[in-house]
Structures are given as C-alpha cells and as structure tokens.
C-alpha cells in the first residue's frame, strides 16, 4: 500500500502573528515557518502505518512557492520516503489544492490519503473533504484513531464530533483528516535530517498537471480582532458572587 500525505508550510504555531500595516494580510516575511501541526500528525500516522507493515511507501506532497521545499525536507527527515512539490506562486484556495492533489493521486495511485483537518493559518478545514469528493472516495474527517484492515480493505476511523466519538468504517481507498489526539508526531533526528537531503523530491507545476488555478475568493482586508479590555481583579469569593449577581446580573 502507498500512502500520500499533504503537508503545508505555515507560520509556526508559537509565533504571535502581526498584521501588515496595509491590511493586505498577515506578515510572513522573517517569521519562523513550520509544518502545520495537523499535517505533522497526518505524516506521523502514515509513518506508523508503514512501520506496522501495512504500507510500503509514504509520499509527502506540498504546494506553494519554492521555500515550501523546507517543509517537505522536514517531512522527509521525519521519515517520508519521497516528496512532491507543486510549485505555485500564489496562495491556493482549498479547491485548487484538491484539484492538484487529484491529479497527483491519478499519477501515484495511493490507497490512502491523509491530511490535517485544517491549516492553522487560514483555518479553512476544507481540503480533505474536497479531495474526497473529487475522487469519489469516502472520508473520515477529524480522526482520533485509525485502524486499517488490509484483508477487508477497510479503515475504521474514530472521529471527534460535537456529540462525542463517532466510529465509521470506510472502504479503501479513502481520505482521512487528522485531529489533535490521533498521535504525537516524532521529531526529526539529526542523522535523519542529513539522510533527508538525499531523498528525491519531484517537482511539478499546476500547468504540467493540467490544473487551472483560479480563485473565487478575494481578500478585501485583514484586521485585528476587537480587543477585550481586561477587567478587575477581585479579592474574595464573596466579592465575585456579589459582582456576578448585582453588577453583571448573570446569576
């Protein structure tokens, strides 16, 4: 079995973001960039499946400008066998990403596609669902547990939903998107970082894959959210109960 994992380069989760003065977006120049945490979890899951003997190869895919190769190298250092970089100058909307992924799936024929449930920059939470639709594959989104049965060609997926934990059984090939509690991603060790340098990365452009990149969304502006002003520090439980009752009128 071959597993394909999509990884995205985003502003590191620990960085406090700054909005550009012209309100055109969020500053990404001279800011620490990392692999999207949900994508790390997706890759970790693929590597675990491979290590359990159920998969032979893990292919990591990324899209975006040339520096996205860094993210791909991180994925290779974690343990992916090879990488694919689809070079695109502009930000791609999830629908375009899904269309490019579909072409890559047609080239690579993986039986499982694992993605993060969302990227922590645009918080869209769309790409996995969209690629599943375009391929006509079943989807298991927001997964916190994945069990593969190679004989029956199914994946049993626990999903974190509002009502609790939902368990689905999906025919393979399938798309899975990862939630936070699926696993704990590994760190790349120094020897593996060195090894990753010689792993192959294949480059494509959307044109080569015959995907027309269009966007039906335009960013008008990006602004600061309204700040909540800090309130008062109280000295006792009695004072708190009094405030809640007689000032805020909430109890």
């Amino acid at each position: 079995m071959k597993i394909m994992v999509a990884v995205k380069r985003v502003v590191d989760y620990a960085v406090k973001i700054r909005i550009k003065p012209d309100k055109s977006g969020v500053e990404t120049q001279n800011v620490k960039m990392s692999m999207n945490p949900f994508c790390e979890i997706a890759l970790e899951e693929a590597l675990k499946i491979k290590e359990s003997g159920l998969a032979k190869e893990v292919v990591a895919v990324t899209m975006g400008p040339s520096n996205c190769v860094d993210t791909l190298r991180t994925g290779l250092a974690m343990g992916a066998d090879r990488g694919i970089h689809v070079e695109a100058a502009r930000d791609l909307v999830p629908l375009s990403v899904a269309k490019v992924l579909k072409k890559l799936v047609e080239v690579e024929n993986p039986e499982l596609l694992i993605l993060g449930k969302q990227a922590i920059d645009d918080d869209c939470n769309q790409t996995g669902q969209m690629i599943a639709a375009l391929l006509g594959w079943p989807q298991g989104t927001f997964a916190s547990k994945v069990v593969l049965d190679k004989e029956k060609q199914v994946a049993t997926v626990d999903r974190e939903v509002d009502g609790g934990l939902e368990t689905l059984c999906l025919d393979l090939p399938a798309v899975i998107t990862t939630d936070l509690r699926l696993n704990q991603p590994r760190y790349a060790t120094l020897p593996n970082i060195m090894k990753a340098k010689s792993k192959p990365i294949k480059k494509y452009t959307p044109e080569e894959l015959n995907v027309e990149i269009k966007s039906d969304l335009e960013v008008v502006q990006v602004t600061e959210p309204p700040k909540r002003k800090a309130g008062v520090i109280l000295s006792s439980v009695d004072e708190l109960i009094d405030k809640l009752k007689n000032e805020a009128h909430v109890i």
Binding site: V11, K16, I17, I19, V26, P94, D121, D122, D123, N125, Q126, T127, Q129, M130, A133, G136, W137, P138, Q139, F142, R159, E160, V161, D162, G163, G164, L165, E166, T167, L168, C169, L170, D171, A174, L180, R181, S215, D216, L217, E218, V219, V220, V222, E224, P225, A230, G231, V232, I233, L234, S236, V237, L240, I241, K243, L244, K245, A248, V250, I251
Partner: protein, 355 residues
C-alpha cells in the same frame, strides 16, 4: 437571491444552531426566501419538518429527504443530496452551521459543485462579502466571493444568535415538500445530459460504472457520547471550564458539581482533555467548540490563544487561577487570583441555588 439552509434535527425538532444559519441567511439580503433542507428517516424527520415549517418567518419551504441513507450524518450521501437539491433549485447561497456536521459535509458538497466555500463566517457585509477569523481568531479576514452560484458558507452559530420569534402559525407556515431521491445514486452526468436513463437501462449501467459513486463506501458504526443531563455546551447560558490545574478526572468532578449548581454546561481545555480528565466533546477552543455564553467561568485555565479563540466572545468571563500572570486574566471581566481547590468549594457553599 434564495438560500438553502442545511439543517440538523434531533428528537423531532430542528436544532437551535440550525436556526442561526437561517438568521445568517436573513442578513444576506432583504428578499431572500429560505429553503430548509432536512434529511433522515422515519417519523421524527417528518415531525421536525412540521415544526420547522412554522419556526421562522423567513423559511418559505421545507425540503424533506427521507431515506435510510440519511439515518446517520455521513458526508457522502449528504453531499450528493446537496448537489442534487442545488442543481434543481439553483440557490444563490447554501449555508450550514460551523459544527462538526456542517464542516464535514459542506466542503464536500462544494467540491461536487465546483465552488469555494467560506468557513466560519462571523459577520456578513453583503450578499458576497463575509468576515471570518483566521490564525485561531488572532486576525479577522474580510473576503469577497467572486465565483459562480451557489456561494457556500458555514456560519458560527454564536455570531448569529436566534432572537425569540413569535410566529403566527396560521399565516407563517412554509410549504413542505419531499425531495425526489431517485437520482441520488447516479452520477452528475445524469443531470448534465438531461436523459431519462430509466428508459435506457444499458446506458444507465454504462454510466454508473464510469462514475465511481462514493455513497455506500462509508458505514456508520457507533457514536459514543456521555449523556450527562447537563445543558449543551454549544448553547448553554453558563459554561464552567476546567484546565490542567484540576490535576485529575476525580478532581474535575468539582467543576461538574459547580456546573450543576449553576445549571451550566461543562467545558475543558485541550490540556484537560489530553490528560484524560474528560471526553473530547467538552473541549473549548480553536479545534474544539466555540462558545459564547452569558457567563464563562474558567478555573485553572492559563489562557492559551487556542483556548481563547473558543470563548472570548462570551459576555462575562470569570477567571480563577493561582498564577496572576496567566493570560486568561487579560480577557477576564472578573479575575480571582487563588487556589481553585479553595475557591470552588467556597463557591459551592455560597452560591445561591438555581431557580
């Protein structure tokens, strides 16, 4: 303009958050009849449809899809259903709530319809301009939709509160109609070609083998949830939340006791869920639930940005934490620096019994 709202129902009623999507539809434009789409099977579906027909004046039509395929919220048949209903009704907008149901299904349907959806809309500037949080709510992005119909949105129910509406059930009843599901299992070419395939059985067989259909490739196994009898976290007026500082599942019961006393829902931080104190459905935050109750009480919660993203629209925020530098105090209306193991018992003793 006309809007299709994807609604959820439970126990013969439509869920409150689904009405938020109707409220959002109302703010798209003045003249905007809403068709409410309900799917499921059995008598509770039809009961919900009857109630939905009179629950909001701007609902002009209730569409009912009755099939065993919709007994569970599986994305594959649901996305197909939306595609089918959209191709027939040519709506300008399709709206669902930003919960695990809407977020699972709507993007899938959007891909089938070849449009880009907009996730987590918190404000509407016009029929095609929306505001949504990005970077865990640390920035707000205004986006203009320039694509073809339908414009598809998931909306945060906390941003579109449902006002109490008195509906004249005699004049305000919407029509109820059944969705024709005979083409649900067929591929999109069926409609594109406009052929009556029933009359050409072999052609139908050919087309069906050409189009791999995903309906039936996923099966619902079970839903594990804890029925606590407490109010729903997403819609409760008061939420009491505990963080890692509770130290154990046993200690977390103090939070539950306090919630019971206040008639509140229980929430938790990611750290508390990860540590196994409580199940995942109680997580409040960027990747958990987004809540905006009238009163949010946080105990032993440090205030990571991912958690703040899930609760900072609450009307009154109370924070109790030992660490006076905890970021949660920067958003709290009332802060109490102290040990929650002393504060909670005192609150339990001194708070008035709920009416």
């Amino acid at each position: 303009a006309s809007t299709l709202v994807l609604a959820e129902h439970e126990g013969g009623s439509i869920k409150a958050q689904s009405l938020s999507a109707v409220v959002a539809a109302n703010s798209l434009s003045q003249d905007n009849p809403v068709s409410l789409l309900l799917a499921g099977s059995g008598s509770s579906l039809h009961q919900a449809a009857e109630k939905a027909a009179t629950c909001h004046p701007s609902i002009s039509q209730v569409l009912v899809a009755d099939s065993e395929k919709f007994a569970y919220p599986l994305a594959e048949p649901w996305a197909k259903l939306i595609q089918l209903v959209q191709l027939k009704g040519d709506y300008s907008h399709v709206i669902a709530t930003s919960d695990s149901f809407g977020k699972n299904i709507l993007p899938r349907a959007a891909a089938l319809l070849d449009v880009s959806p907009v996730t987590d809309v918190v404000d509407i500037n016009g029929p095609h301009q929306f505001i949504r949080p990005i970077y865990a709510g640390n920035a707000l992005c205004t986006v203009q939709y320039t694509g073809a119909n339908p414009c598809m949105l998931t909306v945060r129910s906390t941003s579109f509160p449902v006002p109490h509406i008195s509906v004249d059930s005699k004049s305000g009843a919407a029509s109820i109609s059944e969705v024709d599901l005979s083409t649900l299992d067929e591929g999109p070419f069926t409609w594109i070609l406009g052929l009556q395939l029933e009359s050409i059985p072999c052609l139908e067989a050919i087309i069906l083998t050409l189009i791999a259909d995903s309906v039936g490739k996923s099966r619902f196994m079970k839903l594990s949830s804890q029925d606590t009898g407490r109010p729903d976290l997403g819609s409760a007026k008061i939420v009491v939340t505990g963080g890692r500082a509770l130290k154990s599942a046993e200690n977390f019961k103090m939070i539950e006791k306090l919630a019971e006393k206040l008639g509140a829902a229980v929430g938790a931080t990611r750290a508390a869920v990860d540590a196994g104190f409580v199940p995942n459905e109680l997580q409040v935050g960027q990747t958990g639930k987004i809540v905006a109750p009238e009163l949010y009480m946080a105990f032993g919660v440090s205030g990571a940005i991912q958690h703040l993203a899930g609760m900072k629209d609450s009307k009154i925020i109370v924070a109790v934490n030992k660490d006076s530098d905890a970021p949660i105090f920067q958003v709290a209306d009332y802060g109490l620096v102290g040990d929650l193991f002393e504060v909670i018992p005192e609150l339990l003793e001194k708070l008035p019994e709920k009416k």
